[in-house]
């Protein structure tokens, strides 16, 4: 589904991603882990096209999307839930969801019921400005918004950050359900290992701009954690 | 120690300051001592022109201090410039004495022909230079203080602030247009004779005013550098970037903004005061909102948030205007307009961004040499 081949990325002079490779099979749920600042968010932004890559290739669904614009990648089915949520603060909850409808191929103008079913709080707060919601509510809205565009690949950057425990659990369930029931491919960045273990089936450990270790979730042992994740 | 703080890591500023200092030394010599026939002679025309540019540069500097560093966009800074100018103009009017057209020893000409019987109260004192000098500082300063106090206290920011400053200068313009205001209406104040006893048209006086402008600009530059390199300067930058966060760090944002705004207004007032004797007229046109917008454009063209960029911008845009209006009198707005567009597109950091680019490409090559 997603195939990243030796991409490099820079912020001005500083080299962030170094010849990075990553492969995410269709229908899997991969989790990127790594210390703060190793470039996880940067990698996701490269995939969504928000940061155009300098070299390397990104193959999505068999097509090379390296040069495609962000909006076109969204239209071909990449849903993105960014770190920090990035809700449209002055649009209502409903409008925040509606905005994604345009990227669906089918031209519906109705928000799928599934969204409200997954996140009942959004139904409740339908007419409030997105910016007024509490952090956790915004996180749910952000996931909902990404789902509205009916993605084939859902990218989530630390989706549990700032979320109350029972909702974290719910989100975990939602992700698994989407992955298992609907066959949605998921790429996730997550710091909380218990959550990651529960939700994902693959892990990718990043270190200084490279994927240093990868494997099935069960293979993520204490040794790796010690080596790559402790300070 | 202090000079180190002010000038190191300010190469561009040092360069600009050096050029101004050089001009201040060379121009008087080349104007007064070199005979007119010599190719090195600097004409009086050039002196007045440069003197005018120096005043504009000082005004631009004042704006850059608040806009570039504190993020306060004033679209009415021309008002403070004009007020300083009027204060100086009133002094110059009083110096005319009975040499006016109607020969009235007390009343300026425009009051005589409007049949005014006595000098309005606010004209008193302006016959004394010290008083006028005080007013040049106080009037813009106090107006800025009152205006700023109201606005900052109510947390008027961004475009809202920009627009009410524009309203301020617009209102002042309309008010000064009115003859009843007692500032000469649309014609303003003109026909000046002398300043501090020196004839205003004498070459030596012009050189004196030119020098005064140059020195004022250099001093103001150093003062601004002092502010922006101080701890207060960093607070000011933080206010620009995250005003509310600065509050939670315990800073009273309003008072920082207010003092900076007042200081900037005073600089603008001084610029106006130096400008008026050199161009020979002050009238309400100086309050025109368009002037203030143009001022913003100078700063942006030069490069905002660098101080010396403002000086570069004021000089280059005005020089361009002088040249274009002479060589392409019928189409000069095309190149000028194009200049503004291109600068924004190609040089987001303004003209001085060019220097930055140059330096960067040099320093990166240096870095690469290192292991």
């Amino acid at each position: 589904m997603l195939n990243i081949q030796s991409i490099n990325q820079y912020y001005g002079q500083s080299h962030i991603l170094w010849d990075l490779d990553l492969e995410l099979p269709e229908g899997s749920c991969g989790c990127l882990i790594g210390r703060n600042g190793v470039g996880k968010t940067t990698l996701l932004k490269c995939v969504t096209g928000l940061l155009p890559i300098k070299d390397g290739q990104i193959i999505f669904n068999g097509k090379d999307v390296s040069k495609a614009s962000t909006e076109n990648r969204a239209r071909t089915g990449i849903g993105y839930v960014p770190q920090g949520r990035e809700i449209f603060p002055l649009l209502t909850v409903e409008e925040n969801l509606k905005i994604s409808l345009g990227a669906r191929g089918d031209g519906t103008s109705k928000i799928p019921d599934l969204i409200y079913e997954l996140f009942p709080v959004l139904q409740e707060m339908k007419h409030r400005r997105g910016g007024d919601l509490s952090g956790g509510q915004q996180q749910q809205l952000a996931i909902g918004r990404a789902l509205v565009l009916d993605p084939k690949l859902l990218i989530l950057d630390e989706p549990t950050e700032g979320i109350q425990p029972n909702v974290v659990r719910d989100i975990g369930n939602v992700i698994r359900r989407l992955n298992e029931e609907f066959g949605l491919t998921v790429l996730l960045v997550e710091q909380k290992l218990p959550f990651a273990r529960k939700v994902a089936d693959h892990f990718y450990i990043m270190e200084r701009g490279k994927v240093e270790a990868t494997g099935a979730m069960e293979e993520l042992n204490e040794d790796l954690v010690q080596r790559y994740l402790s300070v | 120690m202090l000079t180190q703080r002010l000038l190191t890591s300010d190469k561009g500023g040092m360069l600009v300051l050096g050029l101004i200092a050089l001009t201040c030394i060379l121009v008087p010599i080349l104007n007064l001592a070199v005979p007119e026939s010599s190719p090195f002679h600097v004409s009086t025309f050039a002196v007045t022109l440069l003197g005018k540019f120096l005043c504009y540069a000082l005004l631009a500097l004042a704006l850059d201090l608040i806009w570039g560093y504190a993020g306060i966009l004033s679209l009415g800074h021309g008002a403070f410039f004009a007020l300083g100018g009027y204060a100086m103009g009133m002094y110059l009017m009083r110096q005319i004495g009975d040499r006016g057209k109607y020969g009235d020893p007390l009343l300026p000409d425009f009051m005589v022909f409007l049949n005014w019987q006595e000098l309005p109260w606010y004209w008193h004192g302006f016959d004394m230079f010290w008083f006028a000098a005080l007013m040049i500082v106080l009037v813009p300063g106090i107006l800025a203080w009152v205006f700023g106090w109201l606005a900052f206290r109510s947390r008027v920011t961004g475009v809202y602030f920009a627009i009410i400053t524009q309203a301020l200068t617009y209102a002042l313009m309309l008010a000064f247009f009115r003859n009843e205001m007692g500032f000469g209406g649309n014609n303003g104040l003109t026909d000046f004779k002398d300043i501090l006893g020196f004839s205003i048209t004498a070459d030596s006086t012009r050189i004196g005013l030119f020098l005064a402008s140059g020195i004022a600009l250099m001093l103001a530059y150093l003062a601004c550098r002092y502010i922006v390199t101080s701890r207060a300067g960093k607070v000011i930058v933080s206010i620009r970037d995250a005003e509310s966060r600065t509050r939670f760090s315990g800073y009273q944002v309003e008072s920082y903004k207010l003092w900076l705004f007042v200081f900037s207004a005073v600089l603008a007032g001084i610029a106006g005061a130096l400008y008026v004797p050199q161009v020979g007229i002050i009238n309400p046109g100086e309050f025109s909102p368009l002037n203030s917008i143009e001022l913003v454009v100078w700063v942006a063209t030069g490069g905002r948030g660098t101080l010396y960029g403002a000086i570069v911008g004021a000089f280059s845009v005005n020089y361009g205007k002088t040249v274009f209006t002479t060589f392409y009198p019928e189409a000069w707005l095309f190149p000028l307009g194009l200049l503004f567009v291109l600068v924004t597109l190609v040089l987001p950091k303004g003209l001085v961004g060019l220097i930055g680019r140059f330096k960067k490409s040099k320093s990166t090559s240096k870095q690469e040499e290192q292991p």
């Binding site: 928000l50 345009g102 | 009410i164 189409a331 095309f334 597109l345």
Partner: protein
């Protein structure tokens, strides 16, 4: 002079009156005949022409009215040949002989010259025509004739005539006017009773002449009862006038407000929604105004409809220019709002100079179609000018149309999303650059439409934009950036406040006061009348 005029009036009026009687009495044989008089119009001095006009009226010839009307309207021309022929121009290069209405061949006429008249002559002709019109078929024409009489002054001799005419008058409006006219004349009667009744009759009459005459009676009449009666009538007139003046002022304010609204509304999109400090907004209006002119030049015979062509044309032209500006410059500047100020300022200079180079620095004359001229006369003291009325309605229409676009279409939603968080909008599939171009084009197109409206009020020249740019920004900011309703309320309230201040402060000071009020108001509401609310707006 005035006396002469009055007696002539009367004479003609009587004549006109008699016309309705059997025609045997109509012709007065001693006068020179009509065709000779008409030809005389072509020569001689202005004062001689005045005499000729009187004589023509006195003939009561059936074409007298037509000829005088043509003279008044400037379509009476004479050839340069000898003897001069007097013609009426009935259309482009088609003429009829003035004296008998026969068509003439325009080809062998040579150059023709308009027969000039001046004000004195003009008012003389108007008076004469009014008298003839007293018995016109159209009630409106009759009413205007009576009103003309009132303003020319009614003397004792006219009373009988008016009273007689009134008996046959079918329209009650005309009857009322006739009553007022009679009473006005009777105010000067020597009979106390008549004066008293006249003063009573005039209660509430809104003709300005009536008020003046009553005032004289109230001040000077020898009878105290009549003075008191006149004063009562005056009071009733004044209280009515007061009400109408209030109405008038509100209308003036709303109408000024609608101009502000139109000039600000495009900016409310480009600046308010997109955040572009668009200094070239005024020039986009200018382009719209020039478009109106070009359309009128292209279709000189369609002036009546030209506005309907100009509105879509201006929308398209300004909109395209706007899109060009957006694609060419502004798209590189998102996230740097202040830089847009610099670039669009440059663009505004370029557009101004372009207008100067293309259309010359001179203003261009845009004509007012007939239906936009004149006013809707509600009563003699209160009328509403059509151009203002239509522009007010038009402004509201544009406003609601735009509101619908922004609120009801997906474009509106996308615009707001892009302006709030561009990268994220792209990440959910919004084609941000397309949305930007469309939105900027929309705002610019609306500016162009505003230009069409302005061309009906003010100069069409290179400086048009400059005159409105500052006010536009103020309106948008005062209303609260990003809130279209705010723009509406702000424009209308600024308009009305201005018009209520002007009478005692004067136009200049009123403007100064408005600005000061605005400054103080922003202290109370630092984000305008209708601020963006919520957490996001607070940071």
């Amino acid at each position: 002079m005035a006396l002469l005029k009055k007696s002539v009036c009367l004479w003609i009026a009587l004549g006109a009156f008699l016309l309705t009687l059997p025609s045997a009495y109509a012709q007065s044989p001693a006068e020179p005949d009509f065709p000779t008089l008409v030809d005389e119009l072509a020569s001689g001095s202005l004062s001689k022409r005045g005499k000729t006009v009187e004589a023509i009226a006195a003939t009561n010839h059936e074409r007298a009215q037509t000829v005088l009307k043509a003279l008044l309207e400037g379509s009476l021309e004479s050839t340069r040949s000898d003897p001069r022929q007097v013609l009426i121009e009935t259309g482009t290069d088609t003429y009829v002989l003035a004296a008998n209405g026969e068509a003439v061949n325009a080809d062998n006429l040579g150059r023709t010259k308009r027969i000039p008249i001046h004000n004195k002559l003009r008012s003389q002709i108007k008076t004469l025509l009014a008298q003839m019109n007293l018995s016109a078929a159209d009630a409106d024409v009759r009413l205007r004739a009576v009103e003309q009489m009132i303003s020319d002054g009614v003397d004792g001799d006219s009373i009988a005539l008016l009273q007689q005419l009134k008996a046959d008058e079918s329209s009650s409006d005309v009857q009322d006017a006739m009553d007022d006219a009679v009473a006005l004349a009777q105010l000067e009667s020597s009979d106390n009773e008549t004066r008293l009744n006249a003063a009573k009759q005039l209660r509430g009459s809104l003709y300005p002449e009536v008020r003046g005459a009553l005032q004289i009676v109230a001040d000077n009449d020898s009878e105290s009862s009549i003075r008191a009666e006149a004063q009562r009538s005056l009071d009733s007139i004044d209280s009515k006038l007061k009400m109408f003046r209030l109405g008038e002022n509100i209308f003036f304010g709303l109408s000024l407000g609608s101009v502000l609204l139109l000039s600000a509304i495009g900016l409310a999109i480009t600046f308010g929604v997109m955040g572009v400090i668009n200094m070239a907004h005024g020039e986009l209006m200018m382009i719209g105004a020039y478009t109106t002119w070009v359309i009128q030049q292209a279709f000189p015979n369609q002036i009546e409809y030209s506005l309907f062509m100009a509105i879509p044309a201006a929308f398209v032209v300004s909109g395209l220019v706007g899109i060009a500006i957006e694609r060419g410059v502004i798209q590189f500047l998102y996230g740097r709002p202040l830089e847009t100020l610099l670039a669009t300022f440059g663009i505004s200079l370029i557009l101004q100079q372009a207008a100067r180079s293309i259309f010359s620095p001179l203003n261009r004359a845009v004509s007012l179609p007939e239906w936009m001229s004149g006013s809707l006369q509600i009563n003699p003291a209160f009328s509403i000018t059509f151009n203002r009325l239509y522009i007010l309605l038009f402004g509201l229409m544009v406003f609601f149309a735009l509101l619908a676009v922004l609120k009801k279409t997906s474009l509106g939603l996308k615009v707001r999303a892009v302006s709030q968080n561009r990268p994220m909008a792209r990440a959910v599939g919004v084609r941000a650059s397309w949305v930007d171009a469309m939105t900027f084009g929309l705002g610019s197109g609306v500016a162009g439409i505003a230009g069409v409206a302005l061309s009906q009020l003010t100069n069409v020249g290179p400086n048009l934009g400059q005159a409105y740019i500052i006010d536009s920004f103020m309106v948008v900011v005062f209303g609260g950036v990003g809130n279209l309703w705010g723009t509406l309320v702000s424009a209308m309230s600024l308009g009305v406040i201005n018009k209520f201040m002007e009478p005692f402060a004067g136009a200049v000071l009123a403007k100064v006061l408005i600005l000061v009020l605005l400054i103080l108001f922003i202290q109370k509401k630092p984000k305008g009348l209708f601020p963006q609310k919520g957490r996001a707006a607070a940071d």
